[in-house]
């Protein structure tokens, strides 16, 4: 288990390979479908973004509302591929790490290699456990989107796995090939 602190430097990124388990600490931003649509519209209109994209970490999550005395509600990853079309625009602008679940398309995978980034995956459906790693949560943009608003989170030892690394490594491909017993018919 490798401990990773954000901001993350180039060396650290290049030393990580797909399948590595990491514990992530530092500042990350939440954003999912509706927030991405607004971010990309803001980029197209040359408007100021609610946070700096350069070296940013985006966590694809829409948390449940926090109960009184809680920092945040349940907060696990959502399916990353729905954000592929937006990531294509954000990665060249500096987005460095994305956290979500599930495989993504090849163009995102290639952009991650070209811009030396990472796609991390967290286990879906373990939100009660993951929420314990969030130490601070602040609403920073789009409150009208409810669960899809953008929050700035401080996380400590958030457990994730490197899915796509900066060298083209793909956990889904290598992992599934290793355990596959039948080859799909087509």
């Amino acid at each position: 288990m490798k401990k990773i602190t954000i901001p993350i430097n180039k060396n650290t990124i290049e030393n990580l390979t797909s399948g590595d388990a990491v514990l992530l600490s530092g500042t990350i931003y939440t954003a999912r479908d509706a927030a991405h649509k607004r971010l990309v519209t803001a980029v197209k209109n040359k408007e100021k973004l609610p946070f700096t994209l350069n070296n940013a970490v985006i966590y694809y999550v829409g948390p449940t509302p926090a109960k009184p005395n809680m920092i945040i509600g349940a907060a696990g990853p959502t399916t990353a591929s729905r954000m592929d079309t937006y990531a294509k625009i954000l990665i060249p602008l500096g987005l460095k790490i994305m956290i979500g679940k599930g495989q993504r398309n090849d163009s995102v995978k290639n952009l991650i290699v070209r811009h030396k980034g990472l796609y991390l995956v967290a286990t879906g459906g373990i939100a009660a456990v993951l929420t314990k790693t969030v130490k601070k949560c602040e609403l920073i943009a789009y409150p009208d989107l409810g669960p899809e608003a953008i929050y700035r989170l401080e996380v400590e030892d958030f457990p994730a796995i490197v899915a796509y690394d900066s060298h083209g490594g793909d956990l889904f491909k290598t992992g599934i090939n290793k355990y596959q017993k039948n080859i799909p018919s087509d």
């Binding site: 509600g73 599930g102 373990i126």
Partner: protein, 279 residues
């Protein structure tokens, strides 16, 4: 005739949904623990252990198992001897609204699918009504998450495609879903009926007891065959590679047209949530 106050319906829907958010299916934790013995992939084992820990944490601390607390799907079997006055759908939606507000669950419904403005209270529910003999009302709630629902599929096969065609379509659906639908999955399959009946059969199959098998020997055999083939895909927990891709396959069938063989696959992520109460 028995008179039923619709407030009882609202209260029951509310109670069941709140319970589901923090408490998974009663057989699920045991089933995951069995899977932990079958799994050889180290990352797969890690995921399964996290799932067991999550079941304990959610229940102990009252935190939803998953941040996607779902679209509320409500099945009602209403006895023909039951009388009520008022708006039944309204009563169900009132129960949904108060559950999601009172228990701090996520409001995940947009009113118009193209304009996409959140309704703010997780209504409306998807409601399925059936009239049955008797004077009871059976209410089942399923808070269904978006990730696995998105990877579900329907195909109108030809009768000539037969069992081979069914197996191929199911495996294609599972392979396409990969890690996106949060495996290990429970796979609900509807075979027969028509274009709208097959997906409903698939969803109803997911309501079956996690430990049961089809009462029809040839369907039971197909459930077993598909479970093995799905686990042979190597997708594994969360798609990281492994031997446990599905925990169960449930097939429900219905008569169909001489020209048709509809097949629907409704994927359920490992957070299997559904609860029933008879009032």
């Amino acid at each position: 005739m028995r008179y039923l106050d619709l407030k009882t319906v609202s209260d029951t829907v509310r109670e069941l949904l709140i319970d589901c958010a923090v408490k998974a299916d009663r057989h699920l934790t045991e089933r995951i623990k069995t899977a932990l013995n079958d799994e050889t992939s180290p990352l797969g084992k890690t995921v399964l252990k996290q799932i067991v820990e999550n079941h304990e944490t959610a229940l102990r601390d009252g935190i939803p198992l998953c941040q996607d607390t779902g679209q509320a799907v409500v099945f009602m079997e209403i006895g023909s001897e039951v009388a009520f006055t008022g708006d039944l759908n309204g009563a169900v939606n009132h129960g949904v609204k108060s559950a999601y507000a009172d228990a701090f669950l996520r409001k995940s419904i947009v009113g118009d699918p193209l304009k996409r403005i959140n309704t703010g209270d997780n209504t409306p529910a998807v409601i399925h009504l059936k009239i049955v003999p008797g004077e009871k009302v059976k209410i089942t709630v399923v808070p269904k998450g978006g990730g696995a629902e998105n990877m579900s599929a329907l195909k109108m096969l030809s009768p000539a495609d037969g069992e081979t065609g069914i197996v191929k379509f199911v495996l294609d659906t599972i392979n396409k879903a990969g890690g996106k639908a949060c495996p290990p999955l429970i796979v609900g399959i509807g075979i027969g009926g028509n274009f709208e009946k097959a997906p409903l059969l698939a969803k109803e199959a997911l309501l079956r007891d996690l430990t049961d098998v089809s009462p029809f020997p040839h369907i039971k055999a197909l459930e077993e065959k598909l479970l093995n083939k799905i686990n042979d895909t190597g997708i594994g927990p969360m798609g990281y590679g492994g031997l446990v891709t599905a925990l169960a396959v449930k097939i429900n069938t219905y008569p169909c047209h001489i020209a048709s063989l509809p097949v629907a696959v409704n994927l359920q992520c490992h957070v299997l949530r559904h609860k029933t109460k008879i009032i």
